[in-house]
Structure formats: C-alpha cells, structure tokens
Amino acid sequence: MHSLRLALASAILLNAVPGLRAEDPKPLVTGLPKPLFVGTPAPIKVANLEPARTGARPAFLIPAAATNLALKKPVTGSDAQPLLGDLELLTDGDKDGSEGSYVELAPGTQWVQIDLGTPATLHALLVWHFHAQARAYLSVVAQISNDPDFIRDVTTVYNNDAQNLCGQSAGKDPTYIETYEGRLIDAKGTRGRYVRLYSRGNSANSLNHYIEIEAWGVPAP
C-alpha cells in the first residue's frame, strides 16, 4: 500500500513539474556565435598567383607499382641548423600543419635534398611547406638528379622563380596558396636518385618551411 502511494505520488509529481520526466529529453539548442567585424583585408602581394581550383583535385595517374620512395629517407639541406624542428621531419610521413610537424629554415634562399637511396623513375612529387595559415611560398624550384651536388644531369620539374632569385634560372610556373592537399608536381618520369627543392621565403614572412615531401616512383632496374 505504501509503495503504491509512493508510485502514485511520483507520477503526479513528475507530470506536474515540467522537465522532471526522464523520458523526455530535448535537444540542446544554443545560440551560434556571430561574425566578428573586421577591417579592410590586406591583399596577398604575390605575382603570378594561381587562381583557386574549381572542384576536387583531378586524379593523377601513376603506375600501379609506384610508391612513395622518399618515406624515411635521409634529408640534407642548405641550413645545417634549422630554427625549428629537424630535416628528418620532411620524410616522416606526418603531414599535419601544427608546430612539431614542420621544419623552419632561415630566411633567404634555402634548399632541402632527399636521397632516395637508389635511382628511380619518378612520376610525381608532393610538397607541403606550411598550411596552418594561408600563404604562398616564393621561388619554389623542384629538381631531380643523379648527381648529389646537382651540378650535372639536373632536371627541373617545377619552377615559379620568375626573377631567378635562387639562381636556378627563371621559371614560369605559378605561385600557389598552400593547402592541406600539398602541391602535386608532375615529375614526368624523370630518372634520378636525388630530389632537391628550393624556396625563398613566403608571402607572410622571409622564413622557409617544410612539412613533408613525397616522391612517387618506381626504383630503376
């Protein structure tokens, strides 16, 4: 009898007081943050800037046997003491844009070089400089060679250094805004053991950065 009275009282109470019924959850609705007013945006002062692509990046076909030959390969560079990180970050497979995933090199013209260990037929390079902020890296030159000193037998597969500031001759390729996708460079089946990339600062500051470099190809027989 006592338990019946208790049950009846609970039922009355639960129905009388809104929100007490455990079986009537409601979705949490809260206000969404409004936009913050900003001033006039500053233009990105970069010559020959590539317009944004419409749609997803088109598929780039490579041989079925091609792999990322740069993964875990040794990296050398023009800056022996990077300001942040180590050169080995370039081939560790981590493409995250946060601090700890990229190496920061001194201002001015700098290069990094990957030794693939064996000559290979390269079909594509993928380069991530920095994408925690929208910026363009300047005087980007990508080269492939069998000469570790890049004196003989050098093939340039990308060059947007219109003013030849890196000393690798002037190029006509466009400057581009870095994104999480990385820059896909058509290596056109170039044979080589070494991959070298130059840069000279970026649209935000004079420093040089690399997150990751991939070299997709097939080892030469």
Binding site: T40, P41, A42
Partner: protein
C-alpha cells in the same frame, strides 16, 4: 508679382538648374549598371551588418578602432528603412550601393557649386569628368564611406570659400555644419579639412578676398563659429541625436587608434603608391582619367595661377597628396580626396582648350569626343568588364567571383541547415550566407563540431574530425581559400 514675369523667372531658374539636374541624371545613369557588376567586398559586407545593427538598435554604435562614422549608415537607413528593408537578409547588393551611387551623381552635380569661381565652361567640364571618370564611378558602386565623404567635401570647399570671400556668418555656419558631417563620416576628414583650411588661410596673406571689410578678429570669429557648429553636429550624430550623450565625443577617443593605423604597418605601401595606382598602365586599362585630368589640372592651374581659388585648389590638393603619400597606410579609394581638386582644376584646363579652339568648332568637337571616349573606355573596363580583376588598380582585396559558385552550391540547402564557419579569414561569407538562419562563426575550431556542413579555412583543416566528406575549395579573394565539407557522424 506680374504673372507674365513669373513665367520667364521660372524658365530662367529652370535654365539655370537644368545643366546641374541633367548632369545628376546622366551621372546616375552611368553608375546604375555597375551596382550589381561585382561581388560584395569585405568592407561592404561588414558595412551591411553594421547597418543592420544600426537599424536594430536605433542608432549607430561607433567603434573607435575601425569602420568609421555614422553618416553612411544613417543615409542608408533613411533610404532603405522606409521601403521595409531592415535586415541583411532583406538587402540586395544594389540596395546598399544605391547610396554611394546617389552620392556620386550628387558629386558630379555639386561641381556647379564652383561656377562663380571656375566659370560655366570649366564647371561643365569638371562635372562631366566627375560623372564619367573611372575612379569616381568605381567607388560610387561600392558601399563604403568614400563617395559620401567626397560629396560633403565638395560642399564644404564651396561653403568655406564663400565664407573666406564674404566673411558672412551664414557661410561660416554652413561650412561648420558640413565639416561636422565630414568628421562624422570618416576620420580622415580631419586631415582634409585641416590642410585645406591651412592653405586657405595662408593664401589670405597673399590674396585678400573680395570682401574689403576682412578683419582678423572677425575672421577668427568665423573660424570659431565653424568649429562650434562642427562640434555640435558631431556630438548630435555620435550621440544618436541625443539618445546617448555619453558617446557624443567618441570621435575624439578615436584619435589615438586612428593615428596608429595611419602610421602603422597595416596596409603599408611605399610613398609612390598613389602615383602608381592612378597613373601607371595596368593590365586592364590605360589610366586615361588620371592622364587627362593631370594634364588638364596643370594647364588650368598655369592659366589661372593668378586666381586665388585656383591656387587654393592646387595648393590644397598638392598638400593633401603629399600628406597622404607620406602616411604608410594607403588604400586606393583615399585617392579621391586629392583627385577632386585635381578634377576641378582640370575643368579649368578643359575650358582653356575649349576657348582656344573656339574658331575651329570641328576640331573642338572632335577633341571633346575623343576625351569622352577615352574616359568611357577606361570606365567601362575598370567598372563594368573587369571590376575585380587583381590587375585593376581600383580593386583592393576584391572578393572573388568564385564566391557566387559557393552561394549557388549552398542554395539547395534549407534555410535552417546548420553551417559552421571556422576560419581566421571568413569575410564576406556572412553576407553570402545572410539568408541561412543557422550559421556560426569561429576563428578557431571549437572543441566539437556538430554533424553537418562546415566552411573551414586551410589552417583549420588539420583539426577536423576524420569522418569528413571530401572538401571543395572556394576562393574568397585572390589567395584566400575556404573549404566546404560535411561532418558525417
């Protein structure tokens, strides 16, 4: 009055004002096609939301660090609110741009204020240049403060010179009222007014005005009257017409912040940048307006160098140009401040040429036609065909036409679909998404994003959850991307 005399008087009045009205209508006609020719600039989009805030709150809330004074918003509110347009969701771009378009047309007509000093031919030439020249037309299609500022500045120039010549208090009061409106429009007006007052007063030493009764104490009283009226107008507008008196002098609290902006690194460009923007050929057009106006101004100033008004325009315009070029902070619409006196002087130059060819009517007509054609060519290229081309010197951080693609792609979404915008740089998306009811904006990714659509800046993509649908990039401005995606869980 004799009814017969009323007829001719009315006709005389109509004849007197007809050129002014015709120029106004013509200038408006030139501007209307451009009202929808380009995507909303970030500044326009922000101004649209500030206008909504003003209409909602009942007065403008001045921000000392940015976004300028209340007059543009009150003018827009006066035009749009009676038509029932009070929220950004109600606005179309051309609604907002009608305000600067009317101001720009008014500026062309305001050239007739200077007829007593320029003469009819020079006035008409200056009016046509103001109606037609690319810089004036371009910014007449942009919902920012500049064209309103210029219209008020033209009125102030005329009122100030009237006072300087006559010492009459009514012109001092008028100049003061217009100075107050100028200051309530944009902070740079303080510099404009100061430099032109200074050059005007310096010129008094070398060219006393027509008024023979000019006396230093009376002149001082005139200036004091102008300052008092200006201050009263500023206080009235900044206080919301007396609604919040505590904000009456907010303009003066902005001095530090605005001075810092002018001297700081923001929008910092070399001293010759205005020369480059105005006079250097671009990939879009040759700068016919600047070249013709520059040549005409030099010719007009030389021909009329003994006239005080011409010297005042020349010296004032030159000092403004030097002052603005000295400041690191530069944006192309600031050029209008010295282009206005240049254009008035160019009217004198055009009149000089016109009169010199009075015995060769065919050549005179041909020259006029060539000038108008060149101006029209440049205006068409810069204002209609390629208004947001990065090579257009008048386009500064323009919004990319790609934003229209984003708008179209989102049009299929219901108005109450959740859209989460996460980016350090997301304008003018609030304008693009103004008709979507559930949009949130974050500069940094929140702890958790809800399932649904998001628009993320490239710097935020690494923080997104793994169960995200493929991302589509859109260009907000040259070099500024936003990525549209969907969180699936």
């Amino acid at each position: 009055m004799n009814p017969a005399a009323r007829g001719p008087l009315a006709l005389r009045s109509l004849a007197r004002f007809a050129p002014c009205l015709l120029v106004f209508v013509f200038a408006l006609f030139v501007r209307v096609p451009g009202l929808d020719s380009r995507p909303m600039h970030t500044d326009e989009a922000v101004n649209a939301f500030i206008l909504e805030e003003t209409l909602s709150y009942g007065m403008h809330r001045y921000r000392t660090h940015d976004h300028h004074g209340p007059t543009l918003y009150y003018a827009a509110a006066g035009l749009l609110a009676p038509a029932g347009l009070r929220r950004t969701a109600d606005f179309e771009a051309w609604h907002l741009r009608l305000v600067p378009a009317l101001c720009g047309a008014g500026l062309a007509a305001a050239a007739f204020l200077f007829r007593p000093w320029l003469g009819s031919a020079a006035t008409l030439a200056a009016a046509l240049a103001l109606a037609f020249a690319a810089p004036f037309v371009y910014y007449s299609g942009t919902f920012i403060h500049e064209t309103l500022l210029l219209l008020l500045f033209a009125g102030w120039l005329a009122a100030f010179w009237r006072w300087r010549e006559s010492d009459q208090p009514r012109y001092a009061a008028l100049a003061g009222a217009l100075a107050g409106l100028l200051l309530a429009t944009k902070e740079t007006a303080a510099l404009l007014i100061a430099l032109f007052v200074l050059t005007g007063l310096v010129g008094l030493r070398f060219a006393p005005p027509r008024s023979a009764n000019a006396a230093r104490p009376r002149r001082f009283l005139g200036l004091a009257l102008q300052a008092t009226v200006a201050l009263a107008v500023v206080a009235l507008l900044f206080s919301g017409f007396g609604r919040e008196p505590a904000h009456a002098l907010d303009l003066f609290r902005a001095i530090g912040a605005q001075t810092g902006r002018g001297l700081g690194a923001e929008h910092s460009h070399p001293w010759f940048t205005y020369l480059r923007w105005a006079f250097a050929p671009s990939s879009v057009s040759l700068p016919w307006a600047a070249w013709l106006l520059g040549f005409g101004a030099v010719l007009g100033l030389w021909r009329h160098r003994r006239e005080a008004f011409a010297r005042w325009l020349g010296s004032g315009g030159a000092v403004v140009f030097i002052a603005f070029s000295s400041l690191p902070y530069k944006t192309p619409w600031l050029m209008l401040a010295w282009l206005l006196p240049l254009t008035l002087l160019a009217g004198l130059g055009a009149a000089t040429v016109w009169l010199s060819l009075r015995h060769r009517p065919a050549l005179r007509a041909t020259a006029a036609l060539v000038v108008l054609t060149l101006l029209a060519t440049e205006t068409t290229a810069l204002c209609l065909r390629q208004p947001v081309n990065p090579g257009n010197p008048l386009a500064y951080s323009p919004t990319s036409p790609d934003v229209a693609r984003l708008e179209n792609d989102l049009a299929a979404q219901p108005a109450d679909a959740l859209i989460q915008v996460v980016a350090q740089d997301y304008w003018p998306l609030p304008w693009t998404l103004r008709r979507h009811n559930r949009v949130g904006y974050w500069s940094e990714a929140p702890a958790q994003l809800a399932p649904g659509l998001f628009l993320a800046g490239p710097e935020q993509l690494g923080a997104l959850p793994s169960d995200t649908a493929p991302l589509e990039p859109y260009e907000l401005r040259p070099g500024v991307l936003i990525f549209l995606g969907r969180i699936l869980r």
